[in-house]
């Protein structure tokens, strides 16, 4: 494969190769702030990006933080995460429900006051 330095980081070609041409992973149900936690150590022969995600997520990390650290768009990261989820290499912790309940609001107020 062409060495990384010859790629334009954000080029459509590079992103296409990373995902094997797949796009859209709404089926994985991942939000920007879904927390991802690694469940199994990286294995030999893994795609380097998959390996990087497993290293990053030893402590819980949101999808959008993974995107920032890998310097890849969220849309690409969710495809990579869908692979890892399917193989149960990572665990996904869904965000708090859309309709905020009063306990969450109270907790956030309390948390901010202590900031």
């Amino acid at each position: 494969m062409t060495p990384d330095e010859e790629w334009d980081e954000g080029s459509p070609e590079r992103l296409y190769v990373l995902t094997g041409g797949r796009s859209g992973s709404e089926d994985a149900g991942l939000d920007l702030v879904t927390l991802i936690v690694t469940r199994s150590a990286p294995q030999i022969g893994m795609q380097p990006e998959h390996e990087s995600i497993l290293r990053l997520c030893e402590a819980p990390l949101s999808v959008v933080e993974i995107s920032a650290h890998l310097k890849l768009p969220v849309s690409i990261v969710t495809v990579l995460l869908a692979d890892l989820l399917a193989e149960e290499h990572v665990e996904a912790r869904a965000p708090a429900p859309a309709l905020p309940d009063i306990d969450i609001i109270k907790a956030v107020i309390h948390g901010l006051q202590n900031l």
Partner: protein
């Protein structure tokens, strides 16, 4: 044989790692025009060094005719800054700054979904930059507060004048802030949360 990609990825600093007990996250979105102080506000409240995620969009560049008559496409990179606050051992709050202009609304997909609410950050020198955003938030029924980032050189208006100019209803909280100050920025987020609390308790939500 080490993989280059793994080696070049700089992960979070160890002191920025979330506890393994972190189980769920919530988001607040800061919206506003360029230069209004979104990034500054995110920096002021974040417990981690703020991060940036980028999306690319392809847009036809309007008004450009070339000889072949083929529409030129341009790749634009749009950056979104965000920060993080640990609320307790289990709950994490993410604060996103996103551009308010209509052409960036594609970024809003997924951003506002499930968001607690929004802060519209306003510069009194460019009030009109907020009109689109306010309309869009009202349409999508996203609860929001309006915070005026008080730049030294910006004209100051009374609350009534601002409400009138921005066409704000009486119940939408309006406050002044200094996005450079942690305390002030924290107060903005608290104003949003107290507003959400009042909405939740008056509409009979659990």
């Amino acid at each position: 044989m080490a993989s280059r990609t793994s080696d070049t990825v700089v992960g979070p600093r160890s002191e920025d790692a979330l506890p393994s007990s972190a189980t769920s996250a919530v988001k607040i979105v800061i919206v506003g025009g360029f230069g209004v102080g979104k990034t500054t506000l995110v920096h002021s409240v974040s417990e981690i060094r703020p991060l940036t995620t980028e999306e690319t969009m392809t847009q036809a560049s309007a008004g450009v005719d070339d000889l072949a008559g083929v529409e030129r496409k341009r790749m634009t990179t749009v950056a979104m800054d965000f920060g993080r606050i640990s609320i307790d051992d289990e709950l994490v709050l993410y604060v996103f700054g996103t551009p308010g202009q209509q052409r960036f609304w594609f970024l809003w997909n997924g951003l506002f979904e499930g968001a607690l609410g929004a802060v519209v950050l306003v510069d009194t020198r460019r009030l009109e930059a907020s009109f689109d955003v306010l309309g869009r938030l009202e349409e999508s029924q996203t609860p929001f507060v309006v915070a005026v980032n008080a730049f030294d050189e910006a004209p100051s208006y009374s609350d009534e004048e601002l409400r009138e100019a921005l066409d704000l209803t009486a119940e939408v909280p309006l406050l002044m802030c200094d996005a450079r100050s942690r305390e002030s920025s924290k107060d903005v987020l608290l104003a949003l949360m107290r507003y959400l609390y009042s909405l939740a308790t008056t509409t009979g939500a659990k």
